[in-house]
Amino acid sequence: MTETTVVKLEGLEKSFRTPKGPLAAVRGVDITIAAGEIVALLGPNGAGKSTTIDMLLGLTRPDAGTVSVLGGAPADATGAGAVGVMLQTGSLIRDLSVRELVTMMASLYPRPLDVDEVLQLVGIDAIAGRRTQKLSGGETQRARFALALVSNPQLLVLDEPTVAMDVESRHAFWATMRTFASQGATVLFATHQLEEADAHADRAVVMAEGRIVADGPTNEIKAKVGLRTIRATVPGAPLAALMLPGVESVERRGEAVILRCTDADRALRALLEAFPEARGIELAGAGLEQAFLELTSVNGGSELPVKEIVQ
């Protein structure tokens, strides 16, 4: 299974008709995923992640471009039972216990995992006898994860899996995903949280406005989009003196200066040490959405907005 291509998306495009005219959700996406990779599809809401995943799975037909999953059409891969999926939306069917529902799903696949093992792995063995309509939001998500896992898939596709989960469920969820992936499966998950991509994927493909704006190891991506800004009023300080450690660029805005930082913590310490008289200090995350847009050519190089301070 080494170095085989599991997913190959080439030139994918998709528009939807809306009352305001056609909306280009995906505008030319190329992604290749090799066996065993854990890839995060990272981007703000509306970036085209779900549409891309729907096309990958054959649920939506692309306007242009090709999709290949495990060397064939998506329908062949899913039809063979090789793909485990947790879609973004969806509830469970009623009137079955959790164990019965997972067993029912397992019966559809040629090589399912042991149901009890899956329940334990996902951490829902304690509620295995409970009816699906009586689960909490987090429990429902975990049961849906169990449905995706029980097929024993070669490719696991998760669309914003942790959205409805509490913190505890999230931890358990990612630990399970890791355990499963360590057995050689390929994983693609969509998220709009940089931290999730950074913590749980080897590689991140960043999407914004229907295009891929970055693709690489998560630590590199994080360095690119994880910029933060410091805004402060520093009387009498020349701009050049503000190019402190951890600062990437400096600009003056009226009374105040804005420091764009690759390492804001370090920059802030240096700032206070060099200019103890600095005041009105505000630290702002770039905002992931804005950071993504920074990466697109449309908006590239423009300044990050920092909330106005009323002094």
Binding site: L59, G81, V83, G90, R94, L96, T103, M104, S107, L108
Partner: protein, 244 residues
């Protein structure tokens, strides 16, 4: 892949649903007792040559099974809304097998309705030869085919809120025109009724008079509706899944 397991759980879901019992068994049984007990000594209901208990037994079995089979398919509407059908499309389960499961579960529910109504009918003195019982049951099961297709079609066409009222209204009208409540005399109404599949479901009781139960017209009407509604069901399914 073990489709039998899948069907087994599908059935379990049916039988755990209280509304299923109320509407497909309790409701027709109660109506049968209400209408047949006072008329239990009527041997020739409305000149049909059939006793009241037998006539109403089959009439209400027809109504109950009609509801069970249409309702079984229409459950697809709920599974579309919850995203379950999307999830199933990503499994090795083929659409044909999915519909087959729905129809099989609906038919097993229908058999239960039939058994309960037969037991009640026997309690009121209905007596037929083994051959006649079997023939009547077979006609009921064949007569339900168009309704199975209708259910799948409605499941893909309707929103969840519309399912209940639509099935209620349809089975009310089809049951009434089909002669569930009284034998239809000769006339315009009977001419119209003969073109409906529900009429022939109710006519299954005619096996008690000897002969085949259904005329050639009956077989043609049932076959015609089955083909037509199956095509419409396929169309509704395609339209529904190709939307994206």
């Amino acid at each position: 892949m073990k489709t039998s397991t899948f069907i087994r759980y599908e059935l379990m879901r049916n039988f755990r649903n209280r509304r299923f019992f109320v509407f497909t068994i309790g409701f027709p049984l109660a109506l049968f007792l209400l209408i047949a007990v006072p008329n239990r000594h009527e041997d020739n209901l409305g000149g049909s040559g059939i006793s009241a208990p037998l006539y109403f037994m089959v009439g209400l079995a027809a109504l109950g099974t009609m509801n069970a089979v249409v309702g079984g398919g229409a459950r697809i509407a709920f599974e579309r809304v919850t995203g379950w059908t999307r999830q199933l499309r990503l499994t090795p389960l083929r659409p044909r097998a999915y519909f087959g499961t729905k129809v099989a579960a609906a038919y097993l529910s229908a058999l239960l309705t039939i058994a309960v109504l037969y037991a009640a009918g026997i309690g009121l003195g209905v007596s037929l030869s083994t051959g006649a019982w079997l023939q009547m049951t077979a006609l009921l099961l064949v007569g339900l085919l168009p309704f199975a297709a209708l259910g799948i079609m409605l499941g893909h066409l309707l929103g969840v809120e519309a399912v209940g009222p639509t099935i209620g209204g349809l089975s009310g009208v089809l049951g009434f025109l089909g002669g569930v409540w009284f034998p239809l005399g000769d006339g315009v109404m009977r001419d119209i009724a003969q073109a409906l599949p529900s009429f022939w479901l109710v006519q299954a009781s005619h096996v008690s008079l000897g002969g085949p139960g259904w005329s050639t017209t009956g077989w043609l009407v049932v076959a015609g509706w089955t083909v037509l509604l199956s095509l419409l069901a396929v169309y509704a399914y395609r339209r529904d899944t190709a939307r994206a």
